[in-house]
Subunit: 417 residues, 2 copies
Amino acid sequence: MDYTAELREKGKAAKKAAQQLAITSSTIKNAALSAMADALEKQAAAIIEANALDLENGRAKGLSNALLDRLLLNVPRVKAMADGLRELAVLKDPIGEAISGWRRPNGLEITKVRVPLGVIGIIYEARPNVTADAAGLCLKTGNAVILRGGSEALHSNMAITRILATAAETAGIPSGAIQLIETTDREAVNALMRLNEYLDVIIPRGGAGLIKTVLENSSVPVIETGTGVCHTYVDVSADLDMARAIAFNAKVSRPGVCNAMETLLVHKDVAGEFLPMMLAEYDAAGVELRGCEKTRNYHFKVKPGSEEDWAAEFHDLILAVKVVDSMEEALAHIRAYGTHHSEAIVTGDYARARRFQQEVDAACVYVNASTRFTDGFEFGFGAEIGISTQKLHARGPMGLEELTSVKYLINGTGQIR
Amino acid sequence: MDYTAELREKGKAAKKAAQQLAITSSTIKNAALSAMADALEKQAAAIIEANALDLENGRAKGLSNALLDRLLLNVPRVKAMADGLRELAVLKDPIGEAISGWRRPNGLEITKVRVPLGVIGIIYEARPNVTADAAGLCLKTGNAVILRGGSEALHSNMAITRILATAAETAGIPSGAIQLIETTDREAVNALMRLNEYLDVIIPRGGAGLIKTVLENSSVPVIETGTGVCHTYVDVSADLDMARAIAFNAKVSRPGVCNAMETLLVHKDVAGEFLPMMLAEYDAAGVELRGCEKTRNYHFKVKPGSEEDWAAEFHDLILAVKVVDSMEEALAHIRAYGTHHSEAIVTGDYARARRFQQEVDAACVYVNASTRFTDGFEFGFGAEIGISTQKLHARGPMGLEELTSVKYLINGTGQIR
């Protein structure tokens, strides 16, 4: 089916809403966010009911436990969504901020001010809490949004969007500001990616396949997000207790998210002391291990790792492990298989810490901390729309500022050139 | 012919160079820029000789005078290119700048630092001075560049690139940092637009056709630049002498560039006083006039304006003129035909000036000044790579900062989540 006409209608409505939203006051936007939060909590039962249908379908389709966990909504998670909106409401509105300003020798006064992007398309998978996050962040920043969630979460997303859009409109937000594409047909995504007339940017959130499809087919500008093949490199000079805590946390605390570690790199000189206990800990936590030849010497349950494993974003309790001869080998491995998301070194050596941070080409480069901190909330942004893994416009956790553009206001007294 | 293999080689060399360039000191980069400037001047004769060949071919192909002017290089213009590079050399290097930094409650220290984009592809038309501008800006910001100039300027561009690349290498810049695609075959552009493995961004500079082609076909992220259907709106409350000076300058001072005005909008209540003299002035300056019915009442030489004229970027001494009934009609016209580049109002009314700047959705919105100021040099950036007309990453004149990305450095003491 061709959704072009339907999408154009949504685009037109969104663009019209965006024109109004750009000059809507913070007071109204914040009141709307609070009303949306209240509505989510009041109607939590309806959301959870819709979610139960999605979970049932997901189980029938044989989704992994990690994916089912990403899909699950319960009262605490609905409350977390609502709290996210309330946190947004009290954050400073970035729109209208004068970022810089100066006077030119000819007397022209130039002011660079922050404005909304306009209309944002967000294509995402699995996690339905993204629906509320995305709608809230876009509204706060004066942008209209067209959401396209994962087919697994369709019923949850429809329930959430309906509740949010109704609450927003009642609070004075123009109709069309928050819309959802209510079909799981992929053709609708194709139409969305060609909606240049109405869309200013598309943000895909999800697995490598989704990102690649959008990058290759969208004529609307794209912010690439989400794919995280993150590494932790345990250096020869590492505090091994610290390394064990970090490496365990990075893999096990929430394996289904993009900032989870997928490959552990260990310097050969500490492998003998570090790996036996580390691998046993992983095994006890139910982590499936896939390693290089050397790694396999340290634990009997380590399966042979393949080229695919080095490149994989498992999104599950699976870990690739490699013993490296040198820091250079670790850097080369990250260069070859990393996705420019989050990379960590555990080291006690100043020069190596500095070199790792300079040479690793990623959005977030950690020394002595878990990659799991790559997150808008953990960074203190109040929320996040995703983790950008490209270099254009935004890189790393995207919060409010990353959803804005700028405009130059130039005031003169008749200047000509 | 398929240029994929050839382009991949260029891309590989550029990416390798970019890795080194990212950690090359400002001292070396600035010395290279100075050496490049000196080399251009010393070898001006060779550049002008190559340019003469391009001009000859251009005349034979029947290029307009405006286009031939854009193509022309002479000693002052070569000196201007060299001076542009020297101005870059003394500008502050943006790379390594700590943009912001903070400590989280858990003790994590986060620093946002400025890094190069990596490898930039620049596709441009006509003006060969862009070759030196682009190479200099990319080098200053630690980026490798692959240039693809207009077929009309091939010989000029080859001469300039050869001189620049040689001077840069001699000064310690890695080979591969400055490359030109030395063919006029369009297939080479197609290969460039699919070079995601090596390219971080493509910047097209030129007419609407080029921009559209790149936007629709590039899987590499694009910064849209250059198309400027700029308007000047003469409001009912305008100082008409000021309006005449601004409107004349915006069209006539350099009609072949993107910040030149293409359509003049005049409020009906001042049209009778303003237009007869204004139109006579344009006519005396050789400007071809195309206007609405009302405009045609004020000067016998005004031809009927068509829908195409309202949407046209003439790049020549041609002007579309429309009398509007209200400011609302002017705003609606700009919304319908503007390209989000530069728009100006001439007014003495505070509220209308403010409203125009708020409601017009363009990179640069002027009150009482000529649109011709939308330019990196005029803004005080030291140079420019183009004028971005999109909202993502950069908007308006792009200088050094617009050619950079960021990276988060996170330093901990064993933090886990």
